[in-house]
């Protein structure tokens, strides 16, 4: 079978290396460009600095006044905030020790605050006065200044032109070497024999087919003869009362459970149709299915960025020896995947938390990290297990936006389980309702809302919550 074939593994490995090499080319070229800009900037800064050191009276007055004033006031505010925080910490400790002194402590704090406000005003005025005093004493540069500035611009221009030439040569060299490597890898890729096309087929446009899926735990029939198709690029919702077997279905698809019976066909990243039960659970992500968990399973011991690097684990093709000796190949791959992780973090809006340890972060952020992890693998199909659990209304609306954005930007299919009917009816194109492991109904949100069986089993006779 194509999935677990050695040839397939080799194919995937070469593909990963090829796409990594292409990314790396882009990174190197960007580096080249950035270096050029930086060098030019450094040169310019040096010249400006020399100029103004030689003629301190020529500095732009308004700008100087604003910069220095703002900087000093910011420093002041930070320091005051720091002292206030220390004071309030001390007060809190004192109150814990002796609750009776709460009033006096609070009074002391508010007095301190008033004091600081007065101090700020005073400082601000004095600062402004002093700055004005010093600046008015400056003479204007006049035409000499204009000439000097023009000369600087000329020099910078010349320098940039000169550097641009070397940069272009460098970029050309990079392009040549990288293109050679890419060509070599592409050739190697085409030489890899793929297994003959399997006998499995899926209709056009269907990315996942679940057919007569059965999952029995002893006498408990968690999933009993469930069938549905998920079309490519759609958002598919799975709903049902608690205990209906929804997470079990996901676990069967992602091979955390081996189904007792039934067929699971999936079109993987290479375009082949595979039978999922033949995959090992840790190979599923290579085929293109990424999932989140109901109980957020984030790696708490490492930072958010590291969580994403782990998610990109399969994209590291470095061997054990390379990793043990930290050979340059590893550093190159780390760079590539790190850049990718940073892009994903930006997409999810998590850049601020990049170096924070996942252990102490709020629940909503952890859920976002879970979703970010799925994006690292360039999945065909993303499975979200109750993504809105524990989120309030605003956060749920944001989540709906996010899911749509992911689907639209990456073109992947999304399969989700959710209890929040508003979210489900809002974003899903197809909904499948199950109960006690059996299919109740499947169709568009409108069809599901109207279905009498679904209403009885799940939505209740009163459809108030639905259809917002």
């Amino acid at each position: 079978m194509a999935g677990s074939d050695r040839a397939y593994r080799k194919l995937v490995r070469k593909k990963t290396m090829l796409s990594a090499e292409k990314e790396y080319k882009g990174i190197l070229l960007r580096d080249c460009e950035n270096q050029l800009l930086q060098k030019t900037e450094v040169f310019r800064v040096q010249l400006m600095q020399d100029l103004y050191t030689a003629h301190p009276d020529w500095i732009p007055k308004e700008e100087a006044k604003r910069t220095v004033y703002e900087n000093r006031m910011n420093q002041f505010d930070t320091d005051i905030a720091f002292t206030m925080k220390q004071a309030s910490d001390r007060a809190a400790k004192a109150i814990v020790k002796d609750p009776g002194c709460r009033e006096s402590e609070e009074q002391r704090l508010s007095e301190l605050q008033k004091q600081q406000a007065l101090l700020r005003e005073d400082y601000s005025n004095r600062l402004a006065q002093e700055i004005d005093a010093q600046l008015t004493a400056c003479r204007d540069g006049g035409s000499a200044k204009e000439a000097a500035l023009a000369e600087i611009e000329q020099k910078v221009g010349a320098y940039r032109a000169q550097q641009a030439k070397t940069a272009e040569m460098q970029a050309e060299k990079i392009r040549q070497t990288e293109d050679a490597k890419i060509a070599k890898l592409t050739a190697a890729l085409s030489r890899v024999q793929t297994a003959p096309a399997g006998k499995l087929t899926l209709p056009e446009g269907v990315v996942l087919r679940v057919q007569d899926l059965c999952m029995y735990f002893g006498g408990v029939r968690a999933v009993d003869g469930l069938s549905f198709d998920v079309k490519k690029g759609e958002i598919f919702g799975l709903i049902g009362p608690n205990g209906a077997g929804k997470t079990t279905v996901f676990n069967c698809i992602t091979q955390f459970y081996k189904p007792t019976a039934g067929t699971l066909l999936f079109e993987n990243k290479a375009g082949e149709i595979i039978s999922l039960p033949e995959e090992k659970v840790h190979d599923v992500v290579q085929q293109g299915i990424a999932r989140t968990f109901q109980n957020v399973e984030v790696i708490r011991e490492v930072s958010v960025l590291d969580n994403l690097l782990i998610a990109g684990h399969r994209q590291f093709t470095a061997r054990l020896i390379t990793q043990a000796l930290h050979l340059p190949a590893l550093k190159k791959q780390e760079r590539i995947i790190r850049e990718k992780a940073l892009r994903v973090l930006e997409f999810m809006g998590l850049t601020a938390y990049k170096d924070w340890y996942a252990a102490g972060l709020p629940y909503g952020i952890l859920k976002k990290i879970e979703i970010a992890r799925t994006l690292m693998c360039d999945p065909q199909l993303i499975i979200l297990d109750e993504p809105a659990a524990g989120l309030n209304d605003t956060e749920t609306v944001e989540l709906a936006e996010l899911i749509r954005r992911i689907r639209d930007t990456l073109g992947c299919t999304i399969l989700l389980v959710e209890h929040d009917m508003g979210l489900v009816m809002n974003i899903c194109q197809t909904i499948c309702a199950i109960s006690f492991g059996k299919l109740l109904a499947i169709g568009t949100p409108e069809q599901i809302q109207k279905d009498p069986q679904v209403q009885k089993a799940y939505l209740g006779e009163n459809n108030e919550e639905v259809g917002q």
Partner: protein, 311 residues
Amino acid sequence: MFAAFLSTVCGSLLSICVTALSAFSVTIIFRTSTTANFAQGSVAAFGCYVVATYLNQWGIPVYLGVLPGMIAGVLIGLFIDLVVFRKGRHVGELGKQIITMGFVSLFYGGIPLLFGNPEFIPFEPFYNTTKASVDSNVVLNAFGGEIVLTKHALISAAITAVVLAALFLLLKYSKWGLGVRTTASSEFTAELVGINTHVITAISWALACALGVLAAVMYAGGGAMINTSFMGTIQVNAFLACILGGFSTFYGPIVGAVLIPVLSNCVGFLANFPAFSDISRWQMVIVYILLLVIILIKPQGLFGKKVVKKV
């Protein structure tokens, strides 16, 4: 031949008692405070030294001499649980186990300091309270041969049976027993339903250490030389008994504790056959390998239950 075989099996009676008491101690501590008590043997040895001092210096009969040892064990157990575990800042599961290891070193160094010469202290077995000339063996004539049992082993077996029976009855029917079983199931939930888990774990530690001392006294009385690490093999066997029987139940480790000495003696019995005459060298190796094979077949122990985490 069969008599000789039975004789060998009966020879493990004392080991069974000692291992059973130690295994029970390890189990009760593990179930209530999720700690593997690596100091079990050391505390037992310490208590044994206390007993030996009372016996040798003041000539107290061994039945009474056991008491100060057990009291010392109780105090040590309470100290470990109430002082060391509670006063520490966020001492987790692994931390508690490391602390017990620290106590091993502490006792290893402390026993020679407190008791002087650590190597050998003569010890009296249970049968003999005053006279040394009383016949120490009970001989049964059955199955065509002699089955030899020491009186000491029989008395120890009787004591062990009574103690364990009492404990199992308490576990099953008393309020304390219910508390222990609940805490063993889930400490968090036990606290929520109002069981004072601190008291439960403290009593468990006290009980475990006292039983350990009792086991050590029995073992020493059976002729073992006392030194700081003389309970070492017993401790290893007790741990193996626990995983053989499985930590899920309280009776599992006892069954394991019966199996291991019997198995060991059975393998040793093979030395009687000329083909295996060299087997005493490899006796422990074979026994441990057999145990490992059994555990691999049943990873949760003979009576264990597998806990599956829901994804």
